[in-house]
C-alpha cells in the first residue's frame, strides 16, 4: 500500500467508525449467507449513498467514485472486516453495468440513480424450475401484444423477490433456432398484476429464495433491454460481472477470524483448546495458505488486462475454499453444530446464545455455504468453462 492508499484506508475507517452503528454492525456479524438483514442492508445503502460510496466501481458519470482497483479493494476489505452488512447486490453489481452497456438513455436515467440511492431494489428472474445450470432452456414466454409483452411462466431461486420492488428477467420471445436464440431481457415492477410470489424456506430455516409466477403479466415494451431475441448476449455480459465482481478473500478473512475465535473457546478431544491443538492449527494454516494464494490471485485479476481465465478460477477456488473453512469451524464447534438458533440471529435478539460466544452464525453458515458452488454457475459449469475457454479442450 502506498501513502495515498494508507490515507484512503484511514478515511474509510473513519467513515465506518462514524456511520456503522452497532445495529448495522450486528447485521453484518450475523450474516450466514451472502445476504444481510434486508432492512439493515437498505439503511446502510442509504448511508453509503449520502457519502457517494454506494457503487464505487461504477464510472464517475453514473455516480461511481473513479477509485483505482486497489482502492476499491481496500474499501471492500475494510467494510468486510468491520462487519458492515452486505448491500443488496443485484442492482449495483449486475443490472447497473448492463444498463450502462445495453440500456437506452431513458432506461439509464430512469433506473441508474434509483439503484445508486437504494430506492429500487432489484431481484433477478433467471433460473426456472427444472432448468438448473442449463439456463438457455428457459420457457417463460413473452408475447408481444401492442406496446406490451404478455408474460407467462415461472422463475425460481429469485433471491429476495419477497422484498424487492423490481425484477429483471430473461424471457422467451421466439422458439426457433438454438435455445440461446429467442431470449429477451425485460425489466418489471414487482407490483404488476399477475406476479405472485412463493417463498422458499432454506435448509437453515430462513427465507431468502422465492419462486415467482407470471400470469398474463403485461410488461411495457419500453422495458426491453437490448434487442428483442438478443437477451442471451445481455445475460452473458451479466454473468461476467456476477463472476468477476466479488473478492472471495475478504469473505475468507472474516470466516478465518471466526474459526480463530471458536478455537479459543472450544476444547479438542485431547483436552487442549483447539487453538493449541497441533492438528487443528495445521489444518487452519493450510487453509490460510490457500486463502493467501487466492488473495494474490484476485490481485492478479485486478491488475490484468485480460482477467477472464483467472476470474473463473477465483470463483471456483473462492467458493470451495469457503466451504472448507466453514467445515473446519464446525470441527471446532463440535456438538454445538446442533442447536438451531434462528432467533438469536435476528437483529433485535437480546437473549442468551448457546455455545461459543462468536459462533451463533456458524451452523447456518456451514449449511448455507454448500449453495455457493451451486448458484451463479455451478462448480461443474465453472470447470467446463475453464476447460474450454482457458485450456482449449473440446
Amino acid at each position: 500500500m502506498n501513502e495515498e492508499e494508507i490515507a484512503f484506508r484511514n478515511e474509510v475507517r473513519q467513515f465506518i467508525k462514524e456511520n456503522l452503528t452497532a445495529k448495522l454492525r450486528r447485521a453484518g456479524t450475523n450474516m450466514t449467507s451472502v445476504f444481510a438483514d434486508y432492512d439493515c442492508a437498505l439503511e446502510w445503502h442509504k448511508i453509503l449513498h449520502r457519502k457517494g460510496w454506494s457503487a464505487p466501481e461504477w464510472p464517475e458519470e453514473h455516480g461511481g467514485t473513479g477509485w483505482s482497483p486497489n482502492k476499491q479493494y481496500i474499501f471492500q476489505r475494510e467494510l468486510k472486516l468491520a462487519n458492515a452488512p452486505a448491500l443488496m447486490a443485484l442492482g449495483i453489481q449486475m443490472l447497473g453495468p448492463i444498463l450502462m452497456h445495453y440500456g437506452t438513455e431513458q432506461q439509464k436515467s430512469d433506473y441508474l440513480p434509483r439503484i445508486l440511492s437504494g430506492e429500487d431494489i432489484w431481484c433477478q428472474g433467471y433460473s426456472e424450475p427444472g432448468a438448473g445450470s442449463d439456463l438457455a432452456s428457459l420457457s417463460t414466454r413473452a408475447e408481444r401484444d401492442g406496446d406490451d409483452y404478455v408474460v407467462n411462466g415461472s422463475k425460481i431461486w429469485t433471491s429476495f423477490a419477497h422484498r424487492a420492488n423490481k425484477i429483471f428477467c430473461l424471457v422467451r420471445t421466439a422458439t426457433e433456432g438454438r435455445p440461446q436464440a429467442g431470449i429477451s431481457f425485460l425489466l418489471a415492477d414487482m407490483n404488476l398484476t399477475g406476479i405472485t410470489i412463493s417463498e422458499i424456506t432454506g435448509l437453515d430455516g430462513t427465507v431468502e429464495q422465492c419462486q415467482v409466477f407470471f400470469n398474463d403479466v403485461r410488461i411495457p415494451s419500453a422495458n426491453l433491454v437490448g434487442e428483442e431475441n438478443e437477451g442471451w448476449g445481455v445475460a452473458k455480459y451479466l454473468l461476467e460481472f456476477e463472476r468477476g465482481g466479488h473478492n472471495y478473500s475478504n469473505d475468507h478473512q472474516k470466516l478465518l477470524a471466526k474459526v480463530r475465535d471458536i478455537s479459543g473457546e472450544q476444547f479438542s478431544n485431547n483436552g487442549l483448546l483447539y487453538k493449541d491443538d497441533p492438528f487443528f492449527v495445521s489444518k487452519l494454516a493450510e487453509l490460510e495458505i490457500d486463502a493467501l494464494a487466492l488473495e494474490i490471485t484476485e490481485q492478479r485479476i485486478k491488475s490484468s488486462d485480460n482477467p477472464g481465465a483467472l476470474t473463473s478460477v477465483a470463483k471456483l477456488v473462492g467458493t470451495e475454499l469457503g466451504q472448507k473453512i466453514t467445515e473446519l469451524s464446525v470441527d471446532a464447534l463440535g456438538a454445538y453444530i446442533a442447536p438451531l438458533q434462528s432467533e438469536a440471529l435476528e437483529i433485535d435478539y437480546a437473549g442468551t446464545v448457546i455455545g461459543p460466544s462468536n459462533a451463533v452464525t456458524t451452523s447456518a453458515e456451514y449449511i448455507n455455504m454448500r449453495a455457493s458452488t451451486i448458484y451463479g454457475g455451478s462448480a461443474e459449469i465453472q470447470r467446463n468453462i475453464i476447460a474450454r475457454a482457458v485450456l482449449g479442450l473440446r
Partner: protein, 382 residues
C-alpha cells in the same frame, strides 16, 4: 478376520428387518417427518407408542428386565432403517442411553423405570456434555457431593438431546478425581421435575429437541447413583456410538440411492445429468465411501457380538470412516441435486444435517483416530 458365518441374518433378525422396513416405508414418508420436525419444541415424535407395541423398545434389554436380549445386529438393523428414513424418535436417548444406564442400576431402580420405558410411557435424556468440552469423552465438571442419605448435584449440561420430552434424566457427575479423569464419574438418574433442575429448550438442526440444563443444588437419593464403573460408562457410550454409525450407514445409502435416481431423471443440456462423466465418477466415489463404511459396520457388529478383543479398534475405525464418508456423500448429494437440496421441503439437505450432527457425537474424527491408535498398538502387542 472372517465374515462368512456372520453375515447371514437369523430368522428373528430377518423378521425384525422386514417389519421395520415395512412400518417405516408405510408411515414415515418425508412429508410426515417434516411436519414432526417443524413442530413446536414441546411436541414429541408421534410413532413412539407404535415402536413400543412392535416390541422394538424392548429389544436391547435383558430378558430379566422384560427385554429381548437383542445384540449389536438387532441394533444395527433398527438404526440402519432409522437412518434411511431419518427417524426422529428418541430410541438412542431413551432406550440405549437412558435405558442402558438404568440397566446398570440396582433391581429396585430397574423395576421402577424399565417397564414404563419399554412400554413407551417414559422418555429419557442423557446429560453428559458440558460447555465447550463436547469433544472429550470423560470431561465432567458437574459434581456429586455425598451427604448421609443423598447426593447433591451441581453443574451445567449442554446439548441434552430429547430433554424437552423426557421425564427422566440420566446424567454424569463427578464423585472424585479431576475434570478430565476417566475414573470417578457417577451415572445418576434424576427426575427432571425435581427442584434445582433448570432447562432451556430448543430445536436442533436435525429436527430434534434439546436443552441446556443447569443443576443447582439438586438433591437426589443415594439409590440414584446407578454406577461409578468407568467400564460401564464406556459400554454405554460405545453402544451409542455404534448405533449412530449404523444410522449413518443407512442415511448414506439412502442419499446415494436418491442421488442416482435424481441424476437419471434430471435432464440438462438435452441429456440426463447422470450421463455426465464427472458426475458419474463422483457418484462412484460416494458409493465406494459408503461401501467402506458398510464393511467396517459389518465387522464391528460381528466383533461386538463375539466380544472380540478387536471390537474397540474396529468401532473407532468405523466412526472415523463414517465421518469421512458422511462428508463426502452429503456434499456430493447436495451438489448434484443443486438448489433444491438447499430447501427445507426437500429431503436431501436433512440427511446432510443429521449426518453432520452424528459426526460430532460420541467422539469426533480426531477422538476416534486417537482411540484407534490406542487399541491398534494394544492389538499389535498382543
Amino acid at each position: 478376520m472372517s465374515l462368512d458365518s456372520n453375515q447371514k441374518l437369523t430368522d428373528e433378525q430377518q423378521m425384525l428387518s422386514d417389519m421395520v422396513s415395512k412400518y417405516l416405508s408405510e408411515t414415515y414418508d418425508f412429508d410426515s417427518r417434516r411436519k414432526i420436525a417443524n413442530g413446536p419444541v414441546s411436541v414429541a415424535p408421534p410413532h413412539w407408542k407404535q415402536f413400543a407395541e412392535m416390541g422394538w423398545l424392548a429389544m436391547p434389554f435383558d430378558e430379566s428386565d422384560g427385554g429381548f436380549n437383542g445384540g449389536p445386529k438387532e441394533i444395527s438393523i433398527l438404526f440402519e432403517a432409522f437412518g434411511k428414513h431419518l427417524v426422529l424418535e428418541p430410541y438412542l436417548e431413551t432406550i440405549l442411553l437412558g435405558g442402558g444406564a438404568l440397566s446398570f442400576g440396582p433391581e429396585d431402580i430397574r423395576r421402577q423405570y424399565l417397564p414404563a420405558i419399554i412400554a413407551g410411557d417414559l422418555q429419557c435424556a442423557f446429560a453428559h456434555h458440558e460447555p465447550n468440552h463436547t469433544a472429550e469423552r470423560y470431561y465432567v465438571g458437574t459434581t456429586a457431593l455425598q451427604s448421609k442419605d443423598s447426593w447433591q448435584l451441581n453443574g451445567v449440561k449442554s446439548i441434552v438431546s430429547n430433554a424437552p420430552h423426557s421425564g427422566l434424566l440420566v446424567l454424569t457427575a463427578r464423585i472424585k478425581g479431576r475434570k478430565h479423569d476417566s475414573d470417578g464419574i457417577g451415572l445418576f438418574v434424576v427426575d427432571k421435575n425435581v427442584r434445582g433442575v433448570h432447562c432451556d429448550d430448543y430445536l436442533t438442526i436435525d429436527g430434534r429437541r434439546a436443552s441446556e440444563i443447569t443443576l443447582n443444588e439438586v438433591e437426589v437419593e443415594r439409590g440414584a447413583l446407578l454406577t461409578v464403573d468407568a467400564g460401564q460408562l464406556d459400554t454405554l457410550l460405545d453402544r451409542a456410538c455404534f448405533a449412530v454409525c449404523a444410522e449413518a450407514v443407512g442415511a448414506m445409502s439412502a442419499l446415494i440411492s436418491m442421488t442416482i435416481d435424481y441424476c437419471q431423471q434430471r435432464k440438462q443440456f438435452g441429456q440426463s445429468i447422470g450421463s455426465f462423466q464427472a458426475l458419474q465418477h463422483r457418484m462412484v466415489d460416494m458409493y465406494i465411501a459408503s461401501e467402506l463404511s458398510h464393511s467396517l459396520l459389518i465387522a464391528t457388529t460381528n466383533a461386538i457380538a463375539n466380544a472380540s478383543d478387536d471390537r474397540h479398534r474396529l468401532l473407532a475405525a468405523l466412526k472415523f470412516r463414517v465421518d469421512r464418508s458422511a462428508r463426502e456423500i452429503s456434499y456430493g448429494a447436495i451438489q448434484m441435486h443443486g438448489g433444491i437440496a438447499m430447501t427445507d421441503e426437500f429431503k436431501v439437505g436433512h440427511y446432510f444435517k443429521r449426518l453432520t450432527v452424528i459426526s460430532k457425537q460420541f467422539g469426533n474424527a480426531n477422538f476416534q483416530l486417537e482411540r484407534y491408535r490406542h487399541y491398534n498398538v494394544h492389538n499389535n502387542h498382543s
